[in-house]
């Protein structure tokens, strides 16, 4: 009699196992969702920063073109010249100092600004005598994936 009551009041091993496995499935799912959303948020944050870097460089190139079209034009050619802009554009005082060359496979960010995972390049291609096509690309690597924010613009002598 005593024995049967004891049996009635406790859970069996199977019951406990089923409960624990359902609970653990729920927790694993919740953890996965949280991890994915945190990762996406981080990527989004870097995307906004990358867009800002690209906008900043485009604005700088546009301002150089406004100031001195002739010099700006000599910095481009028909096949496209690539420039690396990993320094802050405010510290590049003059476009005449620019030397073409890409950034290579180094992703160490824009000088003095964290996170240090970006690289920024601009490609200047001439089209005729009064137009330069500009492509600014900010690239970064995150969790084994490569991301890129490209901005294209056409700069002409007349506008």
């Amino acid at each position: 009699m005593d024995n049967s009551i004891k049996k009635q009041q406790a859970f069996s091993l199977i019951e406990v196992l089923v409960f624990v496995s359902i609970l653990s499935m729920f927790f694993v799912l919740a953890a996965a969702v949280v991890t994915f959303s945190l990762r996406d948020m981080k990527i989004n944050e870097h995307k906004i920063i990358a867009t800002q870097y690209a906008d900043e460089l485009m604005e700088w190139l546009r301002s150089q073109k406004e100031v001195d079209w002739e010099t700006f034009y000599t910095k481009a050619d028909i096949n496209g010249l690539v420039y690396c802009f990993n320094e802050q554009v405010t510290s590049v005082t003059n476009i005449t100092d620019l030397i073409s060359g890409d950034c290579g496979a180094v992703y160490d960010g824009i000088e003095g600004q964290s996170p240090e995972i970006f690289k920024r390049e601009a490609t200047l291609t001439t089209e005729g005598l009064d137009q330069v096509n500009v492509l600014v690309e900010v690239e970064w690597k995150e969790l084994g994936n490569s991301y890129k924010v490209p901005i294209k613009s056409v700069l002409t002598l007349w506008e």
């Binding site: 009551i5 004891k6 009041q9 948020m41 944050e45 800002q52 546009r62 301002s63 406004e66 100031v67």
Partner: protein, 187 residues
């Protein structure tokens, strides 16, 4: 006696349960805190960039499309015209095609950029952000070329009347700088 024994929890059972809760709760709060922190960062960066882009867009378009001459103050006369030489000067007021004036400035006692003209006044940013080092300067590279206007400002998220906060994820500052050429040459 045997029945009573099963109606209450033993010390070991209670300790195991509290132990598990003690492990799960800190982990849970850490995750929630990480999400909130990340969200704060993204919201701030978006707000600063949105308002910064807007200000730059408005100022660039207005000056490029409307300005025909630059003056140091009001009323607009030929005597207070600036930027007729290579010498860099402050561009306080602009004259548009219809002879009306407009200017961009930081109203005293505020940290916002405002646009004002004879026909009205409007704020370009709100109190969520702070504008620093705002300047509009101009010069003329040659006698027969239009004046070049240099616009600069820093914009940051407002952490209680200051750009900096004790928490690093709340600090967000962007520097904007551009130059534009007027469409017309002013002699």
């Amino acid at each position: 006696m045997g029945i009573r024994k099963f109606l209450s929890f033993t010390l070991i059972e209670i300790m195991v349960v509290i132990g598990v809760i003690g492990l799960v709760l800190p982990a849970l709060f850490t995750i929630i805190f990480a999400i909130l922190q990340q969200q704060t960062k993204i919201i701030r960066i978006q707000e600063v960039k949105r308002q910064g882009d807007f200000v730059l867009g408005v100022i660039k378009t207005e000056i490029k499309n409307s300005a025909i001459s630059i003056h140091s103050g009001l009323p607009l006369t030929d005597l207070n015209k600036v930027c007729q030489t290579m010498f860099v000067e402050e561009a306080a007021c602009f004259k548009d095609r219809n002879g009306n004036w407009f200017r961009f400035y930081i109203p005293s006692g505020t940290t916002r950029i405002a646009s004002i003209s004879a026909s009205g006044f409007s704020d370009l940013t709100n109190d969520k952000v702070i504008i620093n080092d705002f300047s509009i300067n101009c010069y003329k590279p040659g006698d027969y070329s239009p004046a070049i206007v240099d616009i600069k400002y820093k914009i940051c998220y407002n952490n209680g009347d200051s750009c900096s906060s004790s928490r690093p994820e709340e600090n967000m500052t962007i520097t904007y700088q551009t130059k534009i050429k007027l469409r017309v040459i002013d002699f």
